[in-house]
Amino acid sequence: MSTVSWITARGLFGRRRFLLLLPLPVLLLTLAILSRSLGVDPGEWGPAVLVGLGLAVVLPVVALIVGTGVLGAEIDDGTVVHILTKPLPRWQIILPKLAVAAGVTAVTVAVPLYVAGVLAHSVRLGVALAVAASIGSLAYCAFFVALSLLTRRPVLLGLVYVLIWEGLLGNFVSGTKVLSIQQYVIALADRIAPTEMLATNVSVPVASVMSALIAVGFTALAVDRLRSFSVAGETS
């Protein structure tokens, strides 16, 4: 494990906001287990819990907390200077941080989604959701890490993207669906395990290419922005 990822992981789990990660996956699991044990028809609760809660809320919000936490939190409190005053090419800082963020997000989201998918339909759906959510984790985290370097309010802007763009506009303006990580994740999951639970809006090739483009593009952008990272003077 590289020193950058070690510090990043310690910083992530050492902060109290880490606890924010727990409630949403727990809620997802609870709802799935409850619905199953009460014998509700999976066709009724499946789409709401798996997509409405799991892919539309739990995945992006966890990715937002973690993705802005690995770099944005260090920029906020100034500790990022310790890593930046080292003779490291900047990609050696961004890539480990992104890896930690995407990994933590994937584990936090994929495990409850897998269980919920199994309860709702089949092991195959569980695996499909877990795999698609992991790909989504990488795309979301790359976006939120880059956002940490583009603005001083990454959490706010990230929330606007998740809630307004993906959540609200996605329902009314069909064009925004082509630029929505959530739609890519749904399309990819449906490709791996075709069921009637996932309503896809974008094609699988579009979803794959766009996910890759977002992950690579925003990572490259983050590396470039970190090269020109400026510390704002506080006393002068």
Partner: protein, 317 residues
Amino acid sequence: MTTISAEPAAPATPASTLDLAGVSRWYGNVVAVNDVTMRLGPGVTGLLGPNGAGKTTLLHMMAGFLAPSRGAVTLDGSPTWRNPDVYRRLGLVSEREAVHTFLSAYEFVLASAKLHRLPDPEAAARAAIALVEMEDAQDRKIGTYSKGMRQRTRVAAALVHDPQVLLLDEPFNGMDPRQRLHMMALLHRLGDAGRTILFSSHILEEVEQVSGTVQVMVAGRLAASGDYRTIRRLMTNRPHVFRVSSTDDRALAVALMAEESVTGVELGRDGLTVRAGDYGAFTRALPKIALARSLRVRSLTPEDESLESVFSYLVGS
């Protein structure tokens, strides 16, 4: 068990020079740093100036954390902006008390050593911690440290790769006099070993023990630079107004008028207002006068001790 000398070894590589050539930095219409040219070589240099003079902006440009709007900052010929390689030779202790509070000092300094890819990070971390005398507390979480201890830990982390140049932004902030003395001694040891040390401060009294050169910044410009003693003399010999109260103000006023350094005395209800032509001579003479007349001085307050007045006096001379 090996013993680690607290004395830094002489740098293996030749001394480094930090060059600023016509450096300016502005934010919109506000000019924070205005056409500063200076060359920093081995030894200790103090960067002095009141708050808002542009010291931090200048330091950030030196450390590669801010692009100059005009001019160039170079370390041994290579620019510091967008050039992480300069950190092989440069260390920075920023003003913000930003530390990973969840790590111990040893873990923190060791992480720095590893990030520098040092051949023996454990030994380097132990040596740096010994240098700042933090061995006793090195395994405690940084969150439990006092301000001075955190500062020393940060200095250790900045020194772990034995840099030729060390920049410190307000390193004495919040330190008690003993810690300040200790830090100053450390900086001098490093400077004497051939390293280029620059620290900033807005409190003149903090830099009393500096033996090196001083750069004075006022309102974004380099107002004075040179030997510390020369500048110190300029500062202490400046005309000054004091408020003095004693057991017998009238008797003291009479005695003071005979004193050469005093240019005027005004007798007020609650004490004397004394105009002194020479800060140093007056403050040395006052106790003797009081003692000779068996007077007790209740209070002595410099009237215009605000930094701005001191600095503007410096700019004028």
